[in-house]
Amino acid sequence: MILIIKTNKEKLHDLEFVKPIEEIVQKKFITKHYSQVKKEDLKKAEKIIICGTSLKDNKFIEDIKEFGWIKEFDKPILGICAGMQIIGLLFGGKLKKKKEIGFYRETFTKEFLGLKGEQKVYHLHNNYVSFPSEFESFAESEGIVQAVKHKNKEIYGVLFHPEVRQKNLIREFVKL
């Protein structure tokens, strides 16, 4: 079972940031807001996807302590946009300001969940997180890490929204 964790405060944003991911997953999943995630959910989950949220919604940053379980979780996690920022912050990264909205070209220096070379990705964020050295960067532009993986764990993060033009990245993660 895949656990899909939403980070959005407004329920109407489920249709924009969560439902597209649920449609790609096509495997048994349950979806919960981060404030509702219980120990049993984490135990049952084979993998976790943490979704993004809207530009104006930064509640998840105030509530970062609610994600403390991430550091102990030993199964694959994929953080998308807000999800990637959460992972970075928990591992000691710093939150930095950078607004990117729309299509951008990013280059993957190594294969990352099936992605290679130059990709046109959809960005929707006001912030990003600098990652500590226990993470390896797979794509970077202007010093901003766009895709990372923990060196010893199966923790992945992407700053862009793969549900828009890189749906296969999510399918590859589900297959892990």
């Binding site: 407004e10 944003h13 249709l15 924009e16 607004k99 729309g102």
Partner: protein, 223 residues
């Protein structure tokens, strides 16, 4: 939350309005940017004049803003309209009917970000077959008012989106890559009735205009 919907009168903006209301939000106004340019980059033009009739049967205030329809001026005019909606109707967010268009969605996101309000795209990345079925299930009465891609022709104008339409358009999708929901601009729609309307609209008069080899519009008078 008090929301304003970017409204064209076509299926996407009406369904986005329906979803925002269903999720408990108050629709404070419907915002239309009326482009004098029929090839507008941002806004659907053919049925926009009739959009006002729809807002009347929904009982929601209508805020319209004219634009010459030049690429970046359109965006300035859209921003003006949203600013007016914030001032006059105290909206805290904007809803759009964007499905796939990153061009459209990202420009509206930028305006909302600049004006410090929320942006909602409840149809974002929606599966097109599922979307059309949902419209039928939720009793949306929708007709085609413009066709702009071969092999669609004037015979398609006025057709209702129903189960037969879905079958036919799926065949064209396989053979000619016509997008099932018209996202590629292959066709444009007008909503005659839906659960948001206090009463349905009727087509009283229609005029078919040929605008190019594979481009036809139907101007309708509704009552």
């Amino acid at each position: 939350m008090k929301l304003g919907v970017l409204f064209s009168g076509g299926k996407d903006s009406v369904y986005a309005t329906y979803l925002a209301k269903k999720f408990g939000h108050e629709i404070s106004c419907l915002i239309s940017v009326v482009s004098e340019n029929k090839e507008s980059y941002m806004f659907h033009t053919p049925s926009i004049k009739k959009a006002e009739r729809q807002t009347e049967v929904m009982g929601i205030p209508f805020l319209s803003q004219k634009t010459k329809g030049k690429k970046e001026i359109e965006l300035e005019d859209l921003e003006k309209a949203i600013k007016k909606a914030i001032k006059d109707y105290r909206i805290e967010g904007v809803v759009t009917g964007a499905i796939q268009s990153v061009y459209q969605a990202s420009r509206i996101q930028k305006i909302c970000d600049k004006l410090n309000i929320e942006c909602f795209n409840p149809l974002w990345q929606k599966n097109e077959e599922e979307y059309l079925s949902e419209l039928i299930k939720n009793k949306f009465e929708i007709i085609l008012v413009g066709v702009f891609a071969y092999p669609l022709d004037e015979k398609w104008l006025g057709k209702k989106i129903d189960k037969n339409f879905i079958k036919e358009i799926e065949k064209l999708n396989k053979k000619y890559q016509i997008h099932v929901a018209g996202e590629g601009g292959e066709f444009e729609t007008f909503v005659l009735n839906c659960p948001l309307f206090k009463r349905g609209l009727k087509v009283m008069d229609k005029k078919i205009l040929k605008e190019g080899e594979n481009s036809f519009r139907m101007e309708v008078e509704v009552e």
